[in-house]
Amino acid sequence: GSPPCIDDADLESYLNRRDVRSALNIHPSAGQWTDCNVVVEESYINIYRTLKDQVSQSIRAGKRGLIYNGDVDLVCDFLGDQWFVEDLGFPSITPYIPWHVNNQTAGFVKHFEGFVMATVRGSGHMVPTDQPQVAYEMIKLFLKGQNF
């Protein structure tokens, strides 16, 4: 969902300026920009209650995975996603251990065969907004295929 307690009014105002739309090559058929579209949200049909099969199959096919959670988010909390990860049934390579950025605990991590699960300490749902440097280091480690 859209971030309920975050004020995106200034961004909406900016992205609906005529000069901004022009700079971004926006087609005239496109409507007013809103952060979240009510029509799409209300008519969207959710099929999958769990993505276990898709995630498992992708990892088995050799695709590397990172599942990360800001640990103070209530909407998609870390605990539920941690249970999801454990339920995938892949053997773990490391125990659940802290990982660090600038000598500070950035969160906790567990490496599995083919993928990694990490928390980002003190972050909510939008991790790159709440903990930008930690998020940056995290995605760097992932893209480079390095352990946390």
Binding site: C5, Y14, R21, N25, V40, F84, G124
Partner: protein, 318 residues
Amino acid sequence: AFDEDRVVRLPGQTKDIPFGMYSGYLNGSDGTHLHYVFVESTGNPATDPLLLWLNGGPGCSSMLGFFTEQGPFRVTKTGASIEPNPFAWNQLASMIFLESPAGVGYSYNDNGNYTIDDDGASYNNLQAIKSFFIKFPQFKRNDFYLSGESYAGVYIPTLSIRLLNETSINYKGFAIGNGYLDQVKLGNSKVFFSYYHGLIDRDQWSALTSQCCSNGVGEDSCEFVQSSNPTCTKLVGKLTEAIESSGLNPYNIYDRCQTNNDLRRTTSLSSPGIGRKYGNHKHASAWKLIKATLTGHSDHDIEIVPRSTRTNSQLKGS
């Protein structure tokens, strides 16, 4: 590079953008046109990985990611200028921010059809990726990754499965942040999370666990979402109401909630439609996801009481 889509400078910037930036449309199926912004890596675009980012919702725009999360720019509070983001991910990878499905952000459909499901969304996302590589064939050999957050926990795995069959794309892996990966697990965990973070007291917790758990208290022995015990279901319903009325920012329980600002905007804007967007819809949207996991129902089954229809005393209380 696809020069028609090139963005040299955005309003609010005083200098040209020092890396390749492109904005335009990628084609999905049946008249679907998905808006994208592509920013090249500031390292070596020829060899750095290519990373797709999707925000969730469903229905939310990846321009939120671009301008408020890991994109290269931030819009200042007044909206008058653009600032660089020192932790932009395009220092590591070239990034595609895709507004999906049609109807989200600047994306549209020629027929005005905005009803879609998970499979339709992932199919259109795949078509958009293929459309990207037609516009930018020089990136076809780069390592390609998927990423996103929230409901992208559905978008990414379903798209990943489709990519497994696309041998012409150098697909390497995926990253999912705070993903909507399993409704029932997230519903059950939310009760534990709420207790562990002091959102409910010991009496409520004892009542919940005595009615919803068997053989101890834990992930495997507690079933809050799909309980066959009506007392348990009732207690979970009360918990849902309690955390909703707490006034907490559900996306970060330790951050402040800009509700007051939202309400001020609601009352200060002349158009009720705009006011509803700033004030109520956002709340309804977030709590919808929470309720969906806690009750085990899909979003469509859940009736949300918009904030504006609550009484003044309820608002003051929260």
